[in-house]
Point group: C2
């Protein structure tokens, strides 16, 4: 076993970067005992050198330019915690690989978009790219999927992987406040990305899903094929009515291989309230993996925050220190297949909420359109209302999303519909 | 990367062994893609050669003696699935290590009792002993703790790790049937070990806890120090009364480092009904790991059965195929410390059920004894009763088990107590 210290260069000293500095200070003895090596930080880089970050940093060399940091002779692992899928982070990672350094990163966007090319580069150079922190914070889900379930054919990967969205949805339910109120609360609490659409639009969680899908199904990471839908249109009414039927609404990612190709969806879904996914509260993350041998495995934990995310970064560092070497996506990047994107291939029941003019025959018109598209109705209920528009709730039998979209288009054209219908998939979990 | 096939010798062709054979037949392409090597079985051994096991085995060499199997030149990994903590399994593993073979095993008893010595032998020989299948079936919990959370100081490890016990407890609640009825049902369903006390007495789960504690706390595995208590005395009344207070009863393993040493307990506990542990139904397993950086991680899945357990065996095989090398308990066996056993060092509230003679002053006598031991009462309730003995339920404020045991001894000596009191810890989860 090599006994020379393993030297880290850390680019990015935000929450996660500082968390990594703290772990190395506090748990050096454990890490050394477990990996057989001392892990040290030799150099750091960040936007502002002078900001007080609450931990002493002066013992580390300072680099203004993360690319220069990545190339330093005294750096064995380049730890990229800057974020962003272009520019500095990408340049610096490429520089690190070109210089023969391993890379540990929390950057889901960069890997979801450029992962295939970076993986090929890393594997050609004999370098590791590790990214446990990129998905579901401290939960060792990349490891579980890549290693712990390596002998399984993965059948489905699901996850609630954006804590902010789950916080908003569960707080709406608990407090009776609307989406906009809780969005503002999240903004004040600092729970939102600089571009909030990354969170509430499902993009951030979609990046994570694309990474899990690549590992699980041996496919080239394909974020563009993820069907994205955010939580912006979920109302308190939807949450309550779903609850009446024994469901809760989650921003749920689902990846599964179908006869037509790889289906990847990140969208608000109804899940049974008494399932592990349905019981998930607040900012917690959960990933569910189904394999042909193992059945269903559920992993739960904090999806963000200084400690959990830094724990995942350091798990990757410890693996490298121990000499563990793995292909970036669990098998050599050049062997990953380019699966066709199967948009909404799998059928499911759907929850529909419509606002109809309260006049004779309105409901019949909707039912007729659904029938014409081959969609049968499992449950239908008209709610009490004030005014001349009646909220109607329909649960369909199984149909595909494209069947449903055609029906919704026809329904929208009806003169009795006064609002764009809400349609949410009911995922069998 | 080595491209020669990795050759397994499998000793034991029961449920798990046959599961391994099936995975290698069915998922050979995946395994090869992911590990860069073909994984093949070269030889097998079992008690009966002629039994029809539903899969063809004639292409594998047959050994009557597992020790001979372990020593074969065409075996790289000795896969021990015989069970038992002495005799054949132990001899064969020792023979494999002496011959320089890696070992993959599902044998929790053997490792809980002889793990330290075997680990030292393996590490001196440069061999792996891997045992993901020994704890919580298909859940990759050994991996999560050893690798995924390697940079954490582990604070507490908890788990429901005997599916049969959880099945009995949750079925008692759901059906209103008593312990004995469900014990018999489990016997008929084949859910019980040949010695049922391994299950219902908490021994099997205690073995698993001892392994997790060794990894988590860097201590020499010490099964003898596990405080064991089974579920045999849990009544339907206890389950219902716990439920009235918002708790469920689980056979819960808890390991934590205290100021006085390592505390390891496997005993029926009350846990909040709305916690992940409290929500666990049927034969499912759950492990909860708490680390200083990561916070709380929850892992859930099937704890037994052909597919899940074989999945874990094969995860270890895949790791070895990929070249991953780890100390048996996550750090070199000779560096593990011999922590003193801190029996019941941590304080907790307790649930007490007593049967008291229904006469004036009976309750006062009990309360007085508790007070004398420094135990204060949080809630007390006398239930309706027929006859002249009254069931009384007490929830204490926090106290240690030894405080409580002294009080219980004094209470048992009171003339008003008509039955041995039941005392269950309320674990904060």
């Amino acid at each position: 076993m090599t006994t020379a210290p393993l030297r880290l260069g850390i680019a990015g000293l935000g929450t996660v970067g500082i968390g990594v500095v703290k772990i190395i200070r506090q748990n050096a003895a454990q890490i050394s005992a477990r990996t057989g090596r001392n892990v040290v930080i030799t150099a750091v880089s960040a936007r502002s050198r002078d900001r007080d970050r609450g931990v002493p940093l002066t013992q580390f060399a300072w680099e203004e330019d993360p690319v220069a940091l990545a190339r330093r002779d005294d750096v064995d692992i380049f730890v990229e915690l800057m974020g962003g899928h272009e520019g500095a982070a990408k340049n610096a990672i490429e520089a690190a690989l070109a210089a023969g350094k391993h890379v540990v990163t929390a950057n889901k966007a960069l890997l979801a978009i450029h992962g295939q090319k970076l993986a090929e580069t890393a594997e050609a150079a004999g370098c590791q790219i590790r990214y446990e922190a990129a998905v579901a914070g401290g939960i060792p889900v990349i490891k579980a999927l890549t290693e712990g379930l390596a002998a399984n054919r993965i059948q489905r990967v699901m996850g609630v992987m954006n804590g902010t969205c789950n916080y908003i949805l569960t707080r709406m339910e608990a407090t009776g406040q609307g989406y906009n109120v809780l969005f503002d609360e999240c903004a004040q609490l600092g729970y939102l990305e600089a571009d909030p659409n990354l969170d509430v639009g499902g993009i951030d969680a979609g990046h994570k899903l694309a990474l899990l899908a690549a590992i699980g199904f041996g496919t080239r990471v394909d974020f563009d094929a993820v069907e994205l839908e955010g939580i912006q249109n979920i109302t308190l009414d939807d949450i309550r009515r779903a609850g009446d039927m024994g469901y809760r609404i989650k921003l749920l990612g689902v990846a599964q291989m179908t006869g037509r190709g790889l289906e990847q969806r990140m969208s608000p879904c109804l899940v049974p309230a008494n399932s592990p996914l349905g019981q998930l509260e607040g900012g917690t993350n959960m990933v569910v993996i189904e394999g042909d041998s193992v059945g269903q495995i559920v992993l739960r934990g904090a999806g963000a925050g200084e400690g959990p995310t830094a724990s995942a970064v350091m798990a990757d560092v410890c693996d490298i220190a121990r000499g563990t070497r793995l292909p970036v996506f669990g098998q050599p990047a050049r062997s990953l297949i380019g699966a066709p994107a199967a948009r909404s291939a799998s059928a499911a029941p759907f929850y529909l909420r419509l606002l109809l003019q309260d006049k004779p025959g309105a409901l019949a018109k909707v039912a007729t359109v659904l029938g014409q598209e081959g969609i049968s109705i499992h449950r239908m209920r008209q709610y009490e209302h004030a005014g001349d528009a009646a909220p109607v709730l329909i649960v369909t039998h199984k149909c595909t999303r494209s069947q449903l979209d055609q029906a919704l288009e026809a329904i929208a054209a009806l003169d009795v519909v006064t609002q764009t219908p809400v349609a949410l998939r009911i995922e069998q979990v």
